[in-house]
Amino acid sequence: MTDKMTFSKRAEFISKLRELLESGVPPKKLKIVMPHPDHEVDEIVEKYVPPSKLKYFTLAGALSGFIGGFALTIGTVLDWPLITGGKPLISIPAFIVIVFEMTILLGATVSLLGFLILSRLPSFKSIISPEDYGNEFVILMDRRDE
């Protein structure tokens, strides 16, 4: 069964959360819902949970964009070599623009993908029956194993 604790004051919520985590309650058993993000809560929680893995998605996206940009530009110009404007076939200064844009494009889209995967969104269960807690801070503690 789940214990539901609601707080309308932020200070009470933070002290209760700190109390629960320090008393050894595994973070897996806690579902914490907040109306908005909070620095202090982040600082408390990051001692007990590993950091977000989103940065690996961003890095992967950016790198593939970087390499993909060079691959696309150099590959296509070697496939059909057309000299324009007296520039060399593989004109790196010009291609850097394309590479840069692709780095950012893939970096951003893969980050979004990573966020959706990591947050388990879109969540069809929550779309059909949304959970709303208003402007209160809520801690739901899973007491099933006790």
């Binding site: 309308s8 004051k9 932020r10 914490i32 819902v33 907040m34 109306p35 908005h36 993000p37 909070d38 809560v41 982040d42 929680v45 977000s52 989103l54 940065k55 961003t58 950016a62 696309l72 530009t73 296509t76 496939d79 059909w80 057309l82 324009t84 520039k87 004109s91 010009a94 291609f95 623009v97 394309i98 840069f100 844009e101 692709m102 950012i104 494009l105 970096g107 951003a108 889209t109 980050s111 979004l112 990573g114 966020f115 959706l116 990591l118 947050s119 969104l121 879109p122 969540s123 069809f124 269960k125 929550s126 779309i127 059909i128 949304p130 959970e131 709303d132 208003g134 402007n135 209160e136």
Partner: protein, 451 residues
């Protein structure tokens, strides 16, 4: 403890005395919900006007598609005119939105939170407007897909050395990233509206918010995503308008072939975009009674940004002008004399007045804090910046090297129709946004209550 029973029209500030944080948050939600109420006749009038302009633009474009680009005033040597002006103008407007959302986020400038939702919306719609113009200017718009590199039976690939292709990549990337940034920023706010609505409205916002709950796990990933998007969007802003400026700087004609174009255009973009934010937010604030949330102090800070970018634009004008004479290059000198006293001299001086002289008044604190003054000034800046793009494009083409090649250009009625149509298109989308999506970043404002 949802205040469903409270009157959404009641915009008086919560409890008397010392309103608690949760009262402020509830009040904030009520204020935003008020903006989403049934539209007034004034709103319908504005929307009808915008739609009317769009229809005028659409008719003009259809005439152009039927007849060809000859219906425009474009000629030899002035092959680029009002359409490219509009393209650069709208991409420029878009940049300010990302600056306010992403760059001011990285600089931790607090005043940004009052403007960033409208600014992000402005970005997305401005890029959508700008994106129309390469298509319009193609003439044979049905061949637009040739601009993308896809394997085809002609064995042709796009010319990656061309600034026009750089534009395709830059503007597409910019649109995608801005749309992502806009949407991601709105997810928690859409969840709030989902909570406050009933029936079919609840269903729609439920889908739009993707079932967001607001667990700490989701918030942590969300914060990371927002930070990375802001960090990615920042170089994107600078690069996209640099790429657009390189459409001109990569040529060799005097007035276009100059190295300062990239930062000059970026500063000009932020300048015109800030002015457009003021143009949009001042009436919106009044219509939706948001005076408590967007105060004079916030406008003061935005006005300072406007002033700063105006100084950079002024610096660029002075440097460009003086170095043309420094070099002793007769073509450069000829071009810049033409700008001051030639065929389009009126528009040149209009541009100088609107972009450099008038914003200098913002050094005066009283004027910075006068919202009506800021609104009027922003209109002048919008006009001035549109003509700046027009001047750069048309004057350099009309007066390049050989006097035999000098020319003249006036936009035709078709081009005028499409120009006004683009303004209508932009305002139409913005008006629809104002009535369907949260116009303030509710979650960020709630977060601030504790700061």
């Amino acid at each position: 403890m949802n205040r469903k029973d409270a009157d959404p029209q009641d915009t008086s500030s919560g409890k008397k005395g010392n309103p608690t944080a949760i009262d402020y948050k509830d009040q904030l939600e009520r204020d935003i919900l008020y903006a989403l109420k049934k539209p007034t006749p004034l709103y319908w009038g504005g929307l009808a006007l915008a739609a009317g302009l769009v229809i005028w633009g659409a008719i003009s474009w259809s005439i152009q598609i039927r007849t060809g680009l000859g219906v425009t005033g474009l000629n030899n040597p002035v092959g680029w005119g009002a359409y490219i002006t509009n393209f650069v103008f709208w991409v420029g407007i878009a940049h300010s939105g990302t600056l306010i959302s992403a760059i001011l986020f990285l600089f931790r400038a607090k005043f940004r939170s009052r403007f960033n939702r409208s600014a992000e919306a402005m970005t997305v719609f401005a890029v959508m407007t700008a994106g129309l113009f390469p298509l319009i200017h193609l003439g044979r718009v049905w061949f637009f897909y040739w601009l993308f590199p896809y394997p085809n039976q002609r064995y042709l690939w796009v010319n990656f050395r061309s600034p026009l292709i750089w534009d395709v990549f830059a503007v597409s990337t910019y649109f995608t990233v801005s749309a992502i940034f806009f949407y991601v920023g709105m997810i928690p706010d859409l969840a709030i509206i989902r909570r406050l609505k009933e029936g079919i409205g609840k269903r729609i916002y439920s889908i739009l918010s993707m079932g967001w709950v607001g667990t700490i796990k989701q918030w942590r990933h969300y914060n990371q995503l927002y930070k990375f998007l802001a960090a990615l969007a920042t170089p994107l802003v600078i690069s996209v308008h640099s790429v657009v400026s390189w459409d001109f700087a990569m040529s060799v004609i005097p007035g276009w072939h100059t190295t300062i174009f990239a930062p000059y255009f970026v500063a000009g973009a932020i300048f015109s975009g800030c002015a457009m934010v003021i143009t949009l937010v001042v009436p919106m604030r009044k219509m939706f009674r948001l005076e408590k949330h967007i105060t004079v102090d916030h406008f003061d800070k935005l006005a300072r940004l406007l002033l700063f970018t105006s100084l950079i634009v002024g610096y660029a004008y002075i440097v460009e002008y003086t170095l043309a004479f420094w070099s002793g290059n007769v073509y450069e000198e000829g071009q810049f004399i033409y700008r001051a006293v030639g065929d389009y001299a009126f528009f040149y001086w209009l541009m100088i007045t609107c972009n450099v002289v008038l914003p200098l008044t913002l050094f005066v604190k009283k004027l910075r804090r006068n919202i009506s003054y800021l609104f009027v000034l922003s209109l002048f800046v919008n006009v001035g910046m549109w003509f700046e793009r027009f001047n750069i494009i048309v004057m350099s083409l009309a007066h390049d090297f050989d006097p035999y090649n000098f020319g003249f250009y006036i936009p035709s009625i078709i081009e005028l129709g499409i120009t006004f149509g683009s303004f209508g298109w932009f305002f139409m989308f913005f008006l629809i946004f104002a009535k369907t999506l949260p116009i303030l970043s509710i979650t960020e404002l709630k977060e601030e209550v504790h700061d």
